[in-house]
Structure formats: structure tokens, C-alpha cells
């Protein structure tokens, strides 16, 4: 479902050239739960941003759901992001002025969906993460774990092809971290494709496969049997 060939990303800043990704090959099948590991600065976030079409690669080809998405215009990328990618951020990234329900509805408002359908999906998504009872709260009124569950609801509400999570537990204590990982596991069990960046080996075990990045290259790929 995801196929990356020869993907490179080079940043230019003030005459310094940073090669964040080096001719990377990566294929991800539908229904996989992929964990991306690696030291800080190895290019994990950059890879995720290209996977999620937040950024385009400097070179290489990228097929998402059978479509070549490497060279899309920024408007087209926005549409693909909106319809086929669900993001879960380390810092939750809920919008403080909007309620829980409005935050979850946000990606749906950028589509031509009737309001009733949007609300139905918001309800379903909040139901899935167990946050229905906090619909009209504001993010500031929730704990970190609750906020991340709302963020997960927002990511799945659009029924994307793939869920991308950048250190989703990085800002949480271990109890809440486990809860969020359990939630991702559930979603994966329900058929979702998940790509997650994490430092934590314990959480890597939730994944069906782990790739490790070092200096912009994949150095070791070992398939792990999903435990439990």
C-alpha cells in the first residue's frame, strides 16, 4: 500500500546542507503496524513527514494507495493528507479554542460532508477512544492522556488509509503511555495501518515490524512477531 523507492531529503539552511534521508527504500503493507526507531537526528520525523505528505522528498518515488504522490502540488498534498492520512503528534496538537468534538470534527470540515454525517463520525470516533463524555470540554480541561486519546479520535475520524504517530507517548507518563499504545493496538486489530516513531523499545513491541534509522538510512530491518 505504501511504496518508497530511493527517497532522499536534503535540507539547505544558511549554506549548510543536511542530508536527512539517503535513498531510502520502504514498503508497508495494508494492516501493518510499523515502528520506526533510531537515535535523535537520524531522520525519523523527516521520514514521517514525507510519509504523511507534510513535505515532499528531494528525490525518489512514493506511491500511496497505488497513486504516485511524490510530486504533487501543495494543494493536492493537502487533499491527500486530509483524506488518507491520520496524524497523531507527540504534543497532541489540539486547538485550544475548540472543544473536543470540534477538534475531532476539524479534518472532516475540510471535506464536502453533510453536517449530520460529520457529527455521526465524530461520535463514533470519540466512542472508540472512550472520550464521548468529554465532548464539549476544552483541551485545557483534560489530562495529557485524555488529550492524546482525543487526538487519536481526530486521526481516525477521517477513516484514513494510514495512521502516522510521531512519538505519541513522548509527553505522557508510563500509565497513560500504555493506555495510548493499547488504543493503537486495538485500532490495528480492527484493520488499521499504523506507522509509529518511538524511542521506547517496550512500545516497539506493539508493532509487527520495526525499522531502525541511522544517519538517514535504514540499517537493520527485523520482522518481529507480534507479541500478545
Amino acid at each position: 500500500m505504501i511504496s518508497m523507492k530511493g527517497i532522499s531529503k536534503t535540507f539547505f539552511t544558511e549554506e549548510v546542507e543536511t542530508r536527512a534521508l539517503h535513498e531510502l527504500q520502504l514498503d508497508i503493507a495494508k494492516g501493518e503496524f510499523l515502528s520506526i526507531a533510531g537515535p535523535s537526528g537520524s531522520g525519523k520525523t523527516t521520514l514521517l513527514s514525507i510519509l504523511g505528505l507534510l513535505d515532499g522528498p528531494s528525490a525518489g518515488s512514493y506511491h500511496l494507495g497505488g497513486r504516485d504522490v511524490a510530486q504533487l502540488s501543495s494543494a493536492e498534498r493537502a487533499r491527500v493528507r486530509n483524506e488518507q492520512v491520520g496524524f497523531i503528534f507527540q504534543s497532541f496538537n489540539l486547538i485550544g479554542e475548540l472543544t473536543v468534538a470540534e477538534n475531532v470534527e476539524l479534518p472532516l470540515t475540510y471535506r464536502a460532508l453533510p453536517r449530520a454525517e460529520r457529527l455521526r463520525r465524530v461520535d463514533a470516533a470519540l466512542e472508540r477512544v472512550g472520550m464521548s463524555h468529554r465532548k464539549s470540554h476544552y483541551p485545557a480541561q483534560l489530562s495529557g492522556g485524555q488529550q492524546q486519546r482525543v487526538a487519536v479520535a481526530r486521526a481516525v475520524a477521517g477513516e484514513p488509509l494510514v495512521l502516522l504517530a510521531d512519538e505519541p507517548t513522548g509527553n505522557l507518563d508510563s500509565h497513560n503511555g500504555v493506555q495510548v499504545m493499547e488504543l493503537l493496538k486495538e485500532l490495528h486489530a480492527g484493520g488499521a495501518t499504523v506507522v509509529m516513531v518511538t524511542h521506547n523499545d517496550q512500545y516497539s513491541r506493539y508493532a509487527t515490524r520495526t525499522v531502525t534509522l541511522f544517519d538517514g538510512r535504514i540499517i537493520d530491518e527485523s520482522a518481529l512477531q507480534r507479541a500478545g
Partner: protein, 798 residues
């Protein structure tokens, strides 16, 4: 306090972008105020240069039946002078022009014929010699003259030996007995330097008609006795006039008012001054709101500093004082720059309005005013950020992001309110300028009733002392003949008075046998004209004909031409041709023509009823030559001057004037007001656009993370732009609503200055609203584009 100022100064230096923007806004706002203050204060607030100026009063006469302004007659004046007890002095006077022999060549000067009381009314002693005494007013007294200071300087080189010297005024000999001091170089209210004072008794006009109680030809001034109020003097005059009315039943329905001279001089300037002051005040308020907004933005950056100060034990009062000190410093610096702006503005204004503003200068009073405005505005725009600073909590600024976000929300709210205020003020100002523009545009297109293009006029006054009536007629006949023969001349005529230069000569008219009672007369403007008048002025002859050459003889039958309005007044359903009217001369005249109505004096008034008589039978024979040129009339000016000199080399040559310039001058006050208003409105528009732009740009910077998240979630660019614009549109909308309310509130002041349009004009409001909204959208559009280009990656990398 000094430490606060020093710290404030360093702060301002540290943020040069903020400081420059704020100073620019303040300089514009304060400079405009100083300029207008310097123009208006000498006109409105500066006392007349006379001792106890508040005691000097004007006694304007009103016809209580018609409400029209009238004048005093000499017999009435003398009766009041004898009976009144309110005034320490009274004067009757009339102004005219005369040819005066000076130390060098004859010059035309303004002459004030005044009863001797005028000097006591003014309360001034002569610089040289003496002023008039009661004996100078007696018939048969030796003819004497008192020079004004400016005439003495200009024509007699300040020669102290002028006392006792003989001069001729319109050919008659007078002896100079005094020179007035510099403070008295012009009679207040005239605005033009005069030459000399002559006793009222030598005015030939007064000699001829002065004994008639109905000859209303004099102005009256007086000085109140100490302790007598205007009201008390008014009621005393009221009872004197009641008594006079019983004694002279034919003099009904006239009554004088008692007005402070100062106020009566400035009454017609007040609406314009009010409008301009309101305008610059609006500009200043906008500038204040603008700077306050900037300071609120900046106070976000200083929150931490303030919290640290509080933590170190500074009292909140100290913190507020610190913020205010900085604001006042900014205000005073803005005022200093504002003086520069004021200098330029004033120069521009003088270019526009010319000599009328000669009294305006940036003197000590203006400096004081500017400094005061600087401090006050500092306190005003410092109040909002000071309030914010006082609310900073110790923990809040040092602690978590959430609390900081809510504080920034507070700031944004304050800033939004300030922007709304700016938009509202700008709308009010723009609406005012828009209305003035339409009014002036309408006025410029008003048909005065004649065609002013290519028309020149020059007054040909002939001194009664050296010209008999027959000689005068001969002079005018020759002037008309010779002018008609000049190359480039299409036609010539003569008239008195000319509609937009001279006063009116209002006279009662009635059909023979229908003489009205006094007080219920039909009054009409009288014009004494030559045969070619209607053709030369291009006044349409609606019925009948204009005057024939043959009717310009003393023995020709008495004929009259009337205006349409006058014809309608007496014969609403039938023709006026062949009917008879009596006007002025008490002889019935047969109407031979009806002509179009002509305005007199100002374009915004209605045309009055008018009748025309051949000038040859005029009682005073003072005509104005009219020349219609085939092309632009400027080239005729020189040949007209030559013609004047040839006709009588002993008379001073008068300057021909172009009629269209005279006309546009009659709207010049409106024009000047409009130009200033338009400039202020442009500044207001600019300032509020900057304010809005600053707010939206700030908001975009604040919302960068939110915008990145939205973009990461797939929001199209248009959506992000819309999100930002929405805020601007919302504020602009609110501001516009406030602006309409403000404009409605101010419509009373403005209404007094408008012609042909009401101050509550929906079309203007709508147009201005659209213009302002467009500018506001543009101001929001620039930062909104930044919002659209936000990098969605920022969501991941936060």
C-alpha cells in the same frame, strides 16, 4: 520618575520598529492638531487687540419681520446715543473706498466714515496727533482725517511730519490730524487693511440721505460700561426701540442685537472650525488607538520582565508608572515630530487659503498646546497597556504556557477593541469628507444665473468732488465705448452692484397705488445697469427684452426689467410685461422684460427677487465695467488698465478681476475645509489600515502553530486565508457600525456646512463603508497570505 524615563527611553531604542511606527502615527495625529490649532486659535480664541475687549460689542440690526440683516440710520443712531445708559461710547460707521493723494502717487484706499465715538469704543489713543472729537462730527466742521498705522507706514513712510499735512480724498481736501497705533491697523472684522478714518459728517452719501430715518446704511459698535452685561444692554435697547417705534410709526420691525464683537466676527467661521477640530481630534484618537495597540502587542513581550520586577518586590503602582512614563515619553517625542508636521501642514494651508491665514503661526501658545497634547495622548494611549501590565501575575508569566495563552487572549481582545475604535473613527472622518466633497461638487456646479467664464470686471468709482453727475455719465459712456473697441472683446456692459463682489442694494417694490405698510414690504435686489448687461452676463431674457441703448438717456421713458421670481411674486398667473412697478425712485416704471434669476453673494443661497434699472438715473452713479472676452480674459487685463489711465490719469488704476475666480472664492472656505478634511481622512485611513494590519499580523504570528496543525490536517490554503480574514472582517464590520453611529452623532455639526445634501446620506455612508472595507480587507490580506503559506511541518516539529 527620572529613572523610569531613562529606562523608557532605553526600551524605545531597543525596539526601533515599534518606536518609529508609533512616532509616525503620533506625529501625524499631533501635528494635524497643532496646525489646526494655530489656524483656529487666533480666529476664535485670541482676544481682540483692544483694552477690555469683552466690553466691545457689535449692534447688528435685524428686520424682525423678514429676519433679514439690516442697518442703522443716522437719526435712529443719534436717538439711541442720546437715550442709552449702558454704553460708555457708541459709534456709527460705514466703509467705502476712495482715491487718496499720498506722499507719492494717488492710491485707492479703504475709508471708514465714523462718528467720533469709534475711538472711545476701541479704547485706543492715537500714536500721533489726535482723534476725532464731537465737533468734527458737526456739519460744516473743518475736514480732518486720521490715518491707520498701516497706511501711514505704507504710503507716508512713517513720516512723523504728516500731522497737519493736507491730502485729497476723492479730490476733496482733508487735513491729517492723527495716526493710530499699530494695534489698530485694521478695524476688527474687516480683514483688509484700511487707509484712513474720516468723520461720518463728510460722507457725501450721509450728507445727501442721512436725515432719512429709512436710510439704513450704518453699522454700529459700542463699548459696555463696566459691570453692564450684554443682556442688560440688550433689554435697554429693546425698550428704547419700543419707544422709538411709537414716535416714528413708519420705522417698524427693526431691532438691534447686542453681541460681543469677538463673537460676532467669528460666528460664521465656527462651523468650519468645529468640523476641522473634530476631524483632527478623530485623527489623534485614531493615532492613540493605534499606538495603544502597538504597545499592547509589545507588552506581551515584556510580560516576563514585568513579572520579574514584581517578583523582586516592585509595587504594581511602580510598574504602571513605568509603563505610563514610557508612553508619555513617546507622546512628547511624537509631539516634537508633530511640530514638523504642523509646519508643513500650515505651509500647505497658507498656500491654499492665502492671506486669510496670515495670523496663523506656530507661536508659544501653539507650542504649549502641542506639548500638552503630547503628554495627554501619552497618558491616553498608555492607559490600556498600563492596565495590562498591572494585571500581570507573578506566577502566570513565569509558569505554564496555558496561562500565558489566556493572557495573550486578553491582549488580543484589547487590541481588537482598539482596532474597532480606529475603524469607527476613520469611518466618521471619511464620511464627513465624503459629504463635504459632494457638497462642494454640487456647489461648483450650481448655476449662478449668469456665465462667469471669460468675464472681467473692474469698479469705476468716480469721486463726487471732482465729477458732476453729467461728467460721470459721460465717463461711463466713454468707458463702455472704448472697452467695446478693444481687440478680443465680445461685449461690454456696466452694473452696480456686481452679484458676487458687491453688497446688495435691497429696496422695497410695489405696483403703483399699492404702497405697502412699513414692515410688510416686498424687498428685492436693485441693479443699475447699462444696455448690454443681460447679453454680456448671458442672463437669459425670458420674456420681452433687455434695455435698449435709447433708454440710457435721462429723458427716456422710465422702464424696468424684473427677475422671474419678482414677476411671479406680483403676477403669478399673467405676464408682467407692460405692468408697472415702483422701486427706489418712487416713480412708476414700465416692465419691458423678464430675465432669469441670479444669485448674489454666495452660491449656496437662493436667488433673491431682483429688478433692473437703467444706470443713468442712479442716485450715486457708481458703476462697474463688465467685459466679456472672446477667449481667456487675462490678455485683456493690461489693455483695461491702459483704458482706465487714459480716461482719467488723476485716478488710481483699479485691478480688473475675473468673474469665475470671484465665484470660486465664494466657495473657497468650503474648498479649504474640504482639502484639509480630505488630507486628514487619508491619514485616518492610513493609520487605521496600519492598525488593522498590525493586529492581524500579530494574530497570525500568535496562531502560527494552530494554522500549521490545520494545514497538517489537510486544510486548503483558501480555508486558512478565510480563517484569518474572518477576524478582520468581523472587526471591520463592528467598526463600521460604530462609525455610522459616530457619523450620525456628528451630523449636526457638519450639516451646517453642507449644501444640497443632508449629513445623513445613506449613499455616502455606503460608499465610504465599501472603501473602508476594501482597505481593511487589503490590510488583512497581506498577513493572511503569510498564514496560507504556513509550513504544515511545524505541527510535527513543535
Amino acid at each position: 520618575m527620572l529613572a523610569d524615563l531613562r529606562f523608557g527611553f532605553r526600551n524605545l531604542l531597543r525596539t526601533p520598529g515599534f518606536t518609529l511606527t508609533a512616532l509616525l502615527a503620533l506625529a501625524l495625529g499631533i501635528g494635524a492638531n497643532s496646525a489646526i490649532f494655530s489656524v483656529v486659535s487666533p480666529l476664535l480664541f485670541r482676544a481682540l487687540p483692544l483694552p477690555e475687549p469683552e466690553q466691545v460689542v457689535a449692534l447688528p440690526m435685524t428686520n424682525t419681520a423678514t429676519g433679514n440683516a439690516s442697518n442703522w440710520s443716522l437719526p435712529t443712531f443719534k436717538d439711541v446715543l442720546d437715550r442709552q445708559k449702558s454704553f460708555s461710547a457708541m459709534a456709527a460707521l460705514r466703509q467705502g473706498g476712495a482715491a487718496v493723494s499720498t506722499a507719492t502717487e494717488p492710491a485707492r484706499m479703504r475709508v471708514i466714515f465714523a462718528s467720533h465715538g469709534v475711538f472711545a469704543v476701541m479704547g485706543l489713543q492715537p500714536e500721533l496727533g489726535r482723534v476725532f472729537t464731537e465737533t468734527d462730527d458737526q456739519p460744516g466742521a473743518a475736514p480732518v482725517a486720521v490715518l491707520t498705522h498701516s497706511a501711514w507706514v505704507k504710503h507716508w513712510s512713517q513720516d512723523p511730519g504728516v500731522i497737519g499735512r493736507s491730502i485729497t480724498v476723492d479730490g476733496r481736501a482733508f487735513t491729517i490730524v492723527g495716526v493710530m497705533p499699530a494695534a489698530f491697523s485694521e478695524l476688527p472684522g474687516d480683514g483688509r487693511a484700511q487707509g484712513l478714518f474720516l468723520p461720518l459728517g463728510v460722507d457725501l452719501d450721509e450728507v445727501k440721505f442721512g436725515a432719512h430715518r429709512g436710510h439704513h446704511n450704518l453699522r454700529a459698535l459700542a463699548r459696555l460700561k463696566a459691570g453692564v452685561t450684554l443682556a442688560a444692554a440688550g433689554s435697554e435697547l429693546g425698550s428704547i426701540f419700543s419707544a422709538l417705534e411709537l414716535e416714528h410709526p413708519e420705522e417698524k420691525n427693526i431691532a438691534p442685537q447686542v453681541l460681543s464683537l469677538q463673537e460676532s466676527l467669528t460666528a460664521d467661521l465656527k462651523p468650519a472650525a468645529m468640523v476641522l477640530f473634530a476631524a483632527v481630534l478623530l485623527v489623534l484618537l485614531i493615532a492613540c488607538a493605534n499606538v495603544a495597540g502597538l504597545m499592547v502587542v509589545r507588552s506581551g513581550a515584556r510580560q516576563r520582565e514585568i513579572a520579574v520586577r514584581l517578583a523582586l518586590g516592585a509595587s504594581r503602582l511602580r510598574v504602571v508608572q513605568q509603563v505610563l512614563a514610557e508612553a508619555v515619553l513617546l507622546g512628547v517625542m511624537g509631539a516634537a515630530l508633530g511640530l514638523l508636521v504642523a509646519v508643513w501642514t500650515l505651509e500647505g494651508l497658507k498656500g491654499l487659503a492665502g492671506s486669510k491665514l496670515s495670523a496663523a503661526s506656530l507661536d508659544g501658545q501653539v507650542l504649549l498646546f502641542t506639548a500638552a497634547v503630547g503628554v495627554l495622548t501619552g497618558l491616553l494611549f498608555g492607559a490600556v497597556p498600563a492596565l495590562h501590565a498591572s494585571r500581570v501575575g507573578l506566577h502566570e508569566a513565569l509558569k505554564d504556557a496555558g496561562a500565558r495563552a489566556s493572557l495573550s487572549k486578553n491582549r488580543r481582545r484589547a487590541q481588537s477593541a482598539l482596532v474597532t475604535v480606529q475603524v469607527a473613527l476613520a469611518f466618521a472622518l471619511l464620511a464627513g469628507a465624503g459629504l463635504m466633497f459632494q457638497s462642494l461638487y454640487g456647489l461648483m456646479r450650481v448655476n449662478p444665473g449668469f456665465e462667469a467664464e471669460n468675464l472681467l470686471t473692474v469698479r469705476l468709482d468716480l469721486p463726487a468732488s471732482s465729477y458732476t453727475d453729467d461728467q460721470k455719465r459721460d465717463y461711463y459712456r466713454r468707458a463702455l465705448e472704448q472697452a467695446a473697441a478693444l481687440p478680443g472683446v465680445e461685449s461690454v456692459a456696466s452694473v452696480d452692484p456686481f452679484p458676487f463682489l458687491d453688497g446688495t442694494s435691497r429696496n422695497s417694490v410695489y405696483p403703483p397705488g399699492n404702497e405697502p405698510e412699513r414692515g410688510s414690504e416686498v424687498a428685492a435686489n436693485m441693479y443699475e445697469v447699462s444696455a448690454g448687461y443681460f447679453a454680456t452676463m448671458k442672463i437669459p431674457v425670458v420674456e420681452g427684452r433687455g434695455f435698449a441703448d435709447s433708454e440710457m438717456q435721462l429723458d427716456s421713458p422710465r422702464v424696468m426689467v424684473v427677475s422671474q421670481k419678482l414677476a411671479k411674486r406680483f403676477w403669478p398667473t399673467e405676464t408682467a410685461l407692460g405692468k408697472q412697478l415702483i422701486g427706489f425712485s418712487r416713480e412708476p416704471c414700465t416692465i419691458v422684460g423678464v430675465v432669469g434669476d441670479v444669485k448674489h453673494g454666495s452660491l449656496d443661497g437662493d436667488a433673491k427677487m431682483a429688478f433692473y434699472l437703467p444706470y443713468v438715473r442712479s442716485a450715486w452713479l457708481a458703476q462697474r465695467l463688465l467685459v466679456r472676452a472672446k477667449g481667456p480674459p487675462e490678455q485683456l487685463v493690461a489693455s483695461l488698465r491702459r483704458l482706465e489711465r487714459n480716461l482719467d490719469p488723476s485716478l488710481p488704476v483699479r485691478e480688473p478681476e475675473a468673474a469665475n475666480e470671484i465665484l470660486s472664492q465664494s466657495a473657497s472656505q468650503q474648498q479649504t475645509t474640504l482639502t484639509m478634511l480630505a488630507a486628514f481622512a487619508a491619514v485616518a485611513l492610513l493609520l487605521s489600515a496600519i492598525g488593522l494590519w498590525g493586529l492581524i499580523a500579530y494574530a497570525v504570528a500568535q496562531r502560527r502553530q494552530e494554522l500549521a496543525i490545520r494545514s497538517a490536517l489537510g486544510a486548503p490554503q483558501g480555508h486558512l486565508v478565510g480563517l484569518v480574514l474572518k477576524q478582520g472582517v468581523w472587526l471591520t464590520g463592528l467598526g463600521l457600525l460604530g462609525g455610522v453611529a459616530l457619523a450620525l452623532a456628528g451630523s449636526k455639526v457638519l450639516g451646517a456646512m453642507l449644501y444640497g445634501i443632508t449629513a445623513v446620506d445613506p449613499k455616502t455612508y455606503l460608499t465610504i463603508g465599501v472603501v473602508l472595507a476594501a482597505v481593511a480587507l487589503l490590510a488583512c490580506w497581506l498577513p493572511a497570505r503569510t498564514a496560507a503559506r504556513v509550513d504544515p511541518n511545524a505541527a510535527l516539529r513543535a
